[in-house]
């Protein structure tokens, strides 16, 4: 397929590609953000939850008597009370055949299935009073055996968490391409390893929060909600509470980070809405940090047995992987918890020409916090396994790690290209990225320095990770499976009488700069100054319907809605100007907010004048001419199910073999997100993503004991990457615009997270190479490193 003919690129790039700072950054830094928790409504109540202290337990009785008696308490409700007004949900989708899960209720009804699951909700005048009352609730529990270890979740002697489902297998999948058996039988070199990816979580700066405000007269529910996906939540609230969809309004004020965790359906949110409906009063829930650790979705938690067949020349012939992942007791609604595993086994080997592949996925239930989509869904797993094996092969064959990658990546002349797992790549730029990072990091002198320092007993490591990223997903992602998750988006753009432009878009902002990018595109394609564009997001009552922000789709898809709307509005403005100036609209142009003669550039009138005439003196226009100064346009992703991006990362670190401590020295990223709409924001997306990947590599892990209790659920014990441990992160780009949109932009939100941990793993193992040991269990803690080195006995 040749996409060449489809290129429709504006001649002038306008604000596209300029490092425009986010106007909202200053406001937020000055503390003038307005987050959900900043809002106070009349007669508002606060909710707190009694939670299960056990990983798995039957509820025998709940005594709420004393709690109800606490002054200031408005309501104490149990799972049964709420089940009467809220339909339970089941996190399955049609395009994951065989995926199963059990009905889930806002509050546990008969059993709790993870430690921290909400059991009783109490609404009171203050959060402190609600917590006082929580202490007075008596729940009689019968502790049940907990399924903790995912490796034994499917063993016959392990109890089944949901008896009606038959076993603890939520989802299984087997993929095969080419003839992997032959490849493994005939090849010179087979490398093999079991990789473990610790369970971790998102940790947004602003915790999950909402205020549900039900007005009984008209049965209207307004939810002020720190969410990524207002329309998805509108749909969920309407259907599960039996409300008219148009009477449910979801408004997202400033949202302080999301990373995927603010688009899932949580029991607390549903219970908060239920309380508002029951009481007819606004009810606020703001998760505290301890609640966040136990109830925000977790992610990863994969163990992958993997091998790779490589020829004597270092050609990757085949991979064979078995990925087991534990998702907690339920598949999360509405996007399901099959997605991460599904993507992990489909992304394996993605950057390479590898012709043969066999992948098995087992997604199992366990009694831990549910896992679901978190930034870079599945990518760090696939990247870690693939890149880990590639480095093992390189070491075995005595090849330089960059050289073996150069020999295997899909090359320029091969595009368009389909991976063995069926992913379609329009055009990627692996070779250019490799060349660029090699120069950028001064690779050869870094290796020389490494060799020199080793003689002095200083152990430095250099590690690479080539990666691909799924961005701009279309309806194939959720819609085809029956999820009411929109993959199209929309923009409404209007000229204000002042000559300024207001646009409301369905994609949303959580701090990444969506609104800035939308304004850049609007200003560019309309022909106005950037500061005359205001962008509104996050309100189902004021923006067009759309999927919003997830899976690195905001700029690529949302941007197209704005581009289309801007082009349409521009046509309308020129038409109107032509009538006023009595000239053909084709002889006019709109530049920096001024109507000019197209050929001479001479200014004729500004948009304020246009607005004045259109809105206040339409009597001066010809009869039956009705200026349309508001336009709406939508955009459906075209051409491919996803737009793939690619890149390479490198980590440079120093490992202390006496203490097992790792110091990150530098990190480099070269990535290709197509057209770079705003280099400032793109680089910050990459850096932020890298930091989360570095967290996975060295620090972050949800630790559980044998009873299924999370033992480090606080910011003191769950180690987040902090500024002082972060290396300088150097970012550069190759730009291969997608030909499927005139914008040419692909996504960039997850690139950093996709490859950072794998690069660190390879660097750690490079540093450990002189000791003939290696590690494949993330995070690489001092204890794990010391154990690998034999400094302490293995447990």
């Amino acid at each position: 397929m040749s996409a060449e003919g489809k290129a429709i690129r504006p001649a002038a790039t306008g604000y596209i590609g300029q490092p425009v700072p986010r106007p909202n950054a200053r406001r937020l830094l000055e503390g003038r953000g307005r987050y959900t928790d900043d809002m106070v409504l009349n007669r508002m109540l606060h909710v707190a939850f009694v939670r299960s202290p056990y990983a798995h337990a039957r509820i025998l009785a709940i005594d709420t008597e004393a709690a109800r008696a606490v002054p200031g308490v408005a309501a104490v409700v149990t799972g049964r009370d709420i089940a009467e007004i809220c339909q339970p949900w089941v996190g399955v989708l049609g395009h994951f055949p065989g995926l199963k899960s059990a009905p889930q209720y806002p509050l546990a009804v008969e059993r709790s299935c993870w430690q921290g699951e909400p059991v009783v909700a109490i609404a009171a005048e203050t959060r402190a009073i609600a917590e006082d009352a929580c202490e007075k609730v008596l729940v009689e529990w019968e502790e049940l055996p907990a399924v903790v270890d995912m490796q034994t979740a499917l063993a016959p002697e392990t109890p089944v968490i949901h008896e009606e489902l038959g076993d603890n297998l939520a989802f299984g999948l087997e993929l095969k391409a080419g003839s992997p058996e032959d490849a493994f039988a005939k090849t010179a070199v087979v490398v093999e390893e079991t990789f473990s990816f610790g369970r971790h979580t998102g940790v947004t700066l602003e915790p999950r929060s909402l205020i549900a405000d039900f007005e009984p007269g008209e049965r209207r529910l307004t939810v002020h909600h720190a969410t990524q996906t207002p329309y998805q939540m509108q749909d969920v609230y309407a259907r599960h509470f039996g409300l008219d969809e148009e009477k449910v309004r979801v408004v997202a004020p400033d949202v302080g980070g999301s990373f995927g965790l603010k688009l899932h359906v949580y029991g607390e949110e549903m219970a908060t809405c239920a309380l508002s409906i029951l009481l007819g009063r606004p009810v606020k829930f703001v998760a505290d940090r301890l609640e966040s650790f136990l109830t925000d979705i977790h992610a990863r938690d994969h163990q992958v047995r993997a091998r790779m067949a490589v020829s004597a020349e270092g050609e990757i012939l085949a991979m064979d992987v078995e990925d087991v992942t534990g998702i907690g007791p339920y598949s999360v609604y509405p996007r399901t918890s099959a997605v991460e595993g599904n993507q992990a086994i489909r992304l394996m080997g993605g950057p390479y020409r590898m012709p043969n592949y066999h992948g098995v996925l087992k997604v199992v239930f366990q009694n831990k916090t549910p896992t679901c989509q978190y930034r870079a869904v599945g990518h760090p797993i696939a990247c870690g396994v693939t890149e880990g094996l590639v480095d093992m092969a390189a070491r075995r064959l005595n090849l330089d790690p960059l050289e073996i990658r150069r020999r295997n990546v899909v090359t320029a002349e091969m595009y368009p290209h389909t991976s063995p797992t069926g992913y379609f790549f329009e055009r990627l730029s692996h070779e250019e990225c490799i060349a660029k990072i090699e120069a950028m990091m001064n690779y050869s002198s870094l290796r020389e320095e490494q060799a020199r320092l080793r003689e002095q007993g200083i152990y430095r490591g250099i590690g690479f990770a080539t990666f691909i990223e799924i961005t701009n997903p279309g309806p194939a992602f959720y819609g085809v499976g029956g999820a009411r998750v929109s993959s199209q988006d929309g923009c409404v753009m209007k000229l204000e009488p002042s000559g300024r432009v207001r646009c409301s878009v369905s994609v949303t902002e959580q701090g990444q700069g969506t609104e800035t990018v939308m304004a850049q595109i609007a200003a560019t394609h309309l022909g106005v100054k950037l500061d005359s564009v205001t962008v509104l997001t996050g309100d189902t009552q004021a923006t067009p319907y759309g999927g919003a922000t997830w899976a690195s789709r905001g700029a690529g898809i949302g941007g197209m809605t704005v581009l289309r709307a801007a082009q349409a509005l521009r046509g309308k403005l020129l038409e109107l100007a032509g009538i006023i100036l009595q000239r053909g609209p084709e002889t006019l142009d709109l530049r920096e907010g001024v109507i000019v003669e197209a050929d001479t550039g001479m200014a004729r009138m500004d948009l304020a004048e246009l607005g004045r005439i259109a809105y206040f003196r339409p009597d001066t226009l010809p009869p039956d001419f009705h200026p349309d100064l508001t336009v709406a346009r939508h955009y459906v992703p075209q051409g491919l199910p996803f737009a793939f991006t690619n890149g390479i990362q490198a980590s440079h670190l120093e490992l202390d073999p006496e203490t097992g401590l790792v110091r990150l020295l530098d990190h480099w990223v070269v990535e290709d997100c197509g057209t770079i709409l705003n280099p400032l924001l793109v680089d910050e997306q990459v850096r932020g993503g890298v930091v989360q990947g570095l967290g996975a590599a060295l620090f972050e892990e949800c630790l559980y004991n044998e009873a299924g209790q999370m033992i480090n659920g606080s910011l003191a014990d769950y180690l987040l990457p902090m500024a002082s441990e972060m290396p300088d992160i150097h970012v550069d780009h190759v730009s291969t615009p997608t030909q499927f949109t005139p914008l040419g932009a692909k996504g960039v939100g997850e690139a950093g997270t996709a490859g950072a941990a794998a690069a660190v793993m390879n660097a750690v193992n490079d540093a450990l190479a002189p000791f003939q040991v290696s590690l494949a269990q993330m995070p690489f803690t001092p204890e794990r490193i010391l154990r690998a080195l034999g400094k302490i006995p293995s447990s």
Partner: protein, 286 residues
């Protein structure tokens, strides 16, 4: 989480404190910098009925030198300790330890006395107090008494403080000529509680160490003075063999307790590594 309701009294004299303790008994709690107590209350691990704010108590303030003793008021904030030239000169170990505690925001509120009274075995201040042979000055309605650091720390968050007691000040022998103070800790992130830490004092001359005190923290239920390790370094110039012997002797000084991130074996190994590094630093006068 939100703290449960409590009363609050900001006192102007020690007598007031004693009166409030008499009235509320162990329902009353002193609040100093609040950097441990407030999070504990927010998490409802602590729920005192009354907070006694001692920030205005004259008797608990100030850093002064009286002859061969340095007296540090219990309510001295970390940030004041750090910037005090007196402390830098008379107790270099303390001066070096402060930057290892948490982060700037916490150091500008947290207090020396609060940390000692809290007796977290992973904290820097109790270990320094023990290494420096500090003496705690304690007052209650009955009067004042002095307790040596070695007797003060009695277990996990356990001290010689009885209900109704106030830690008023800490007295530290002024560092004699050539007395070094070195502190090192192994942390995964700057500002974290140490996986293992070591506060040490000693005089180095001609490759020998005299009177070294090695106090480990983050290894047990309280700061631990490693006497056997010190003995192994006692005679003659210190050789690598001496250091190895001292490292081996640590096994007799303590068996570390593990925590969620580190097993006892890891801590024992890290303690040996730290000992080697700290002895070298002491010998190098750093």
């Amino acid at each position: 989480m939100k703290a449960s309701a409590f009363d609050y009294a900001r006192v102007e004299s020690l007598e007031e404190v004693f009166a409030l303790f008499a009235e509320y008994g162990d329902e009353a709690r002193i609040i100093a910098g609040g950097q441990t107590l407030v999070p504990a209350m927010a998490m409802r691990v602590a729920a005192p009925a009354l907070l006694i704010d001692i920030s205005r108590l004259e008797a608990l303030q100030g850093i002064a030198r009286n002859g061969d003793r340095l007296r540090i008021g219990a309510f001295t904030r970390y940030v004041e300790l750090q910037h005090s030239p007196l402390v830098a000169e008379a107790a270099p170990l303390l001066h070096r330890a402060i930057p290892l505690i948490a982060h700037e925001a916490i150091r500008s509120r947290g207090t020396f006395g609060g940390s000692l009274a809290n007796a977290d075995p992973a904290s820097e201040m109790p270990a320094c107090a023990l290494a420096l042979e500090a003496v705690m000055v304690i007052a209650n309605a009955e009067g004042e008494r002095r307790v040596a650091a070695a007797d003060f720390f009695q277990g996990l968050y356990q001290t010689a403080l009885e209900p109704g007691d106030v830690l008023v000040a800490v007295e530290i022998p002024v560092a004699q000529d050539g007395m070094q103070g070195v502190i090192e800790e192994l942390v995964r992130r700057q500002g974290d509680y140490a996986m293992v830490g070591l506060a040490a004092t000693g005089k180095a001359a001609n490759g020998m160490l005299s009177g070294p005190r090695f106090v480990f923290f983050g290894v047990g239920d309280r700061p631990v003075l490693a006497t056997k390790a010190a003995e192994a370094l006692a005679d003659g110039p210190i050789s690598p063999e001496h250091i190895a012997e001292a490292q081996a002797a640590l096994a007799q000084d303590f068996t570390p307790l593990g925590d969620i991130h580190c097993s006892p074996a890891t801590k024992a190994h890290l303690a040996r590594v730290l000992l080697g590094r700290v002895v070298s630093r002491l010998l190098e006068h750093r």
